[in-house]
Symmetry: C2
Subunit: 168 residues, 2 copies
């Protein structure tokens, strides 16, 4: 009920209510904020990684490998499912990461169509450093929210995300 605009989305919703009073624009309260927040997060991440000489896309691939645990090795197919990009993109990413010496490619001994990608020593060190730095910054971004609110927010987002993740 409060009509004071507290963020851009409040202003945006107020404008729509004036222009299209016939429509129910409530969904924007959630979904526009998700999109905008993601865009800001991308920029924050870019800044965080710059100190470690990593691009966000490089980080995405390296963390997927890191999370897999020793020997830090996954197929391109597993990587593209983890990072939500297309196969052409993943091929390109792996090429450049390999050229930078952060990952290694080898043929899959069990499937001659397949390839396995693994972290190099350098890649492992780089991703570990960047990741703890990122967590520090993300922790700060969330500092306006208490632990209870954070858990509540995570739960609500999980509900929205579930239909996307399961049927894939």
């Amino acid at each position: 009920m409060t009509e004071d605009a507290r963020d851009e989305v409040d202003r945006l919703v107020a404008a729509w209510r004036t222009e299209r009073p016939d429509l129910d624009v409530e969904p924007l309260q959630v979904l526009s904020r998700v999109s905008r927040l993601a865009k800001h997060l991308d920029r924050a991440r870019r800044a965080a990684f710059a100190e470690h000489d990593l691009e966000p896309w490089e980080f995405d691939v390296l963390t997927a490998l890191r999370r897999a645990g020793k020997p830090y090795e996954l197929s391109p197919g597993a990587l593209l499912r983890a990072t939500l990009v297309t196969s052409g993109t993943m091929t390109n990413r792996i090429d450049r990461l390999a050229q930078a010496g952060l990952v290694r490619r080898r043929p899959d001994p069990e499937d001659r169509r397949g390839v396995l990608v693994s972290l190099t020593e350098t890649g492992l060190a780089r991703v570990d450093a960047a990741f703890s730095d990122l967590l520090r910054r993300e922790h700060d971004l969330l500092s306006n929210l208490g632990p209870t609110d954070q858990r509540a927010l995570a739960g609500l987002l999980r509900t929205l995300l579930a239909p996307f993740d399961s049927p894939l």
Copy 2:
């Protein structure tokens, strides 16, 4: 405390807890979900707009103009602030929208550096149709959440977004 993975992010967090038990990865519960959800939303929007022969980037610009109200006219500078893109991108977008007959450019009579961009009749009709379609789909995406939860979620997101929106 429940350790059953309910979405990809739960699995991701569990993997990190195993691999880096020294780090507090709680922030990912919120922020990874925001990023992933935004990515899925982009795809859903793309699908929705395809029926109206619009790309998401076209829609972003057209809605900003539509929201401004009659005469549906804004400067490129205002548009890029509304859409979080750079000036080079906005120039390119306006070029292509003008070529498609959806917007019109004219010199700003009050500032000879400036330009004003406005919706054409076609642009207005197109954006209105696409917008109500989008809202219908976004409404469905949120159907897993009751009205109370939606409001709670919007409020929590607003808290996170506020520091980004105000200091700009």
